[in-house]
Symmetry: C2
Subunit: 253 residues, 2 copies
DNA sequence: CATTGACTCTAACGTAACGTGATACTCTAC
DNA sequence: GTAGAGTATCACGTTACGTTAGAGTCAATG
């Protein structure tokens, strides 16, 4: 069992960082003493290691939380991707070292470098590509059979069907959005989440509770979803996601 | 001559980044078209290269500006330090790669890693040390003879002298602080900056205009100075620095 | 010559991930 | 018993842009 400063020293982060991670429920201590002190275990440290690897990859803390909270999170697979990413970062730094050495050489010999040569290595494109790909893999939640089921159903939809679907979607989202101040476990919010669940099963595919839970993650993990949902109301995606998780917890009692 | 998007593409930064650098006077385009378009030259690109190297070192944009604006900025020396820093970053990533490989190995074989082993490489201490040392070297503005002159003078000061010096310092700072809203070129502000200049010469060392200008840089480049001065009023260090530079420009006309 | 799409500008709000400082309680070594 | 280190919460501040909006500019095209 470790106290907060012990963890901070061991790992090389600040106490404030650990407090922050606790606040956002990214890394919550295993237990709390009567005085309110945080106590961390080896299990916490393992999760913290993963967090730091993901951070090194440039993944946001919210996304890291979503990843680590997934029931099907594959630690070994994640470690392999971390290794790949670190090798890419190393390669980028190697390129930058070459650039700086060529810059030194050019300066010492009064030469001019090509513009494209001057900036080799700074480009974050390759790393950002990797981040994107990883995020893409992480949010690949749909089993193929669901995609097929959905495609089978929707391929027969008329424009009228889509209009109805869009209207009902808006209706449900607005109903949930208008109760954001009541909290995600508000009965009215939960009623509409149930509507949403039923709506997906009626119109797209058989949506089990586990799949619905995965969808909740997706709404915040995939910024395209987040953006789209937040068009109804700022912050709705996070709120809806939380409400869906509460709903799933209730259904699975 | 390049337009803003051309530079952005060549270098791998965003247009917004270049706008931002222009706004804070870190990288100002060589010229502006009648339509207000920014035009960059090869000289701008060279400075941008330096900026990106310093950014890679984790130096703040304000500090980068201070460094690059110094008349005695040594580009070759800076490039050498960039190389050194990049090698340290590479070394850190190598350590992290080893950590992740050992983590994979431990997981595959059902072993437990030592806590200290789990977090090797994450620690930014060595890199932060390097940043600090670099910042230290950058703000080493005092020639040794001034330090000696100051030490010679102040070694004879009594407690009464120090009391008087402290009071006069406070007096000058308060006078300047109370005119911050008037702008750094306000006559009253400039009068007190002259007082400050004379005060340093009277009490510490012969303070030439160039040295005074260097001191102005130091007040914002060295966060210990910044913090100390800002105790009088938030933002006073930056304001005083600007006022001192205006004063020096006036003196050197 | 008008149009259009890409590019450019300024302005301003928003954001993530903490740092920092204040205040008060807790714990442990001396 | 005490002092210093460690712990808690709270809340404001910060950096470095991203993003959006609205409007002007430019060059290719029909």
């Amino acid at each position: 069992m470790y106290k907060v400063k012990e963890v901070a020293n061991l790992v090389g982060v600040s106490v404030r960082t650990l407090h922050h991670y606790d606040e956002i429920e990214l890394l919550q201590p295993e237990s709390i003493t009567p005085a309110g002190y945080r106590l961390y275990t080896n299990q916490n440290l393992k999760r913290l290691q993963q967090i730091l690897f993901f951070k090194e990859m440039g993944i946001s803390l919210q996304q890291i939380k979503n990843i680590l909270d997934r029931p099907d999170f594959d630690q070994l697979e994640a470690l392999r991707m971390h290794e790949e990413m670190l090798k890419k970062k190393k390669s980028r730094i190697d390129t930058m070292i070459q650039t700086v050495q060529q810059s030194i050489h050019a300066l010492e010999h009064g030469n001019e470098m090509e513009e494209t040569e001057m900036f080799k290595g700074f480009d974050m494109k390759e790393i950002e590509e990797h981040q994107k790909r990883y995020a893409e893999e992480v949010r690949q939640t749909y089993p193929n059979d669901l995609v097929k089921q959905s495609e089978q159903k929707t391929s027969q939809y008329t424009a009228q069907d889509w209009k109805r679907i869009k209207e009902e979607t808006n209706d449900i989202y607005q109903a949930i959005a208008s109760h954001m101040s009541q909290g995600p476990d508000d009965p009215e919010v939960q009623r509409n989440v149930a509507r949403w669940h039923q709506f997906i099963t009626n119109n797209f595919y058989d949506c089990s509770i586990d799949i619905f839970r995965g969808l909740a993650d997706l709404y915040v993990a995939d910024e395209r979803f987040t953006k789209n949902i937040d068009k109804h109301k700022e912050g709705l995606a996070v709120f809806l996601s939380e409400a869906m998780i509460i709903y799933c917890d209730e259904q699975q009692k």
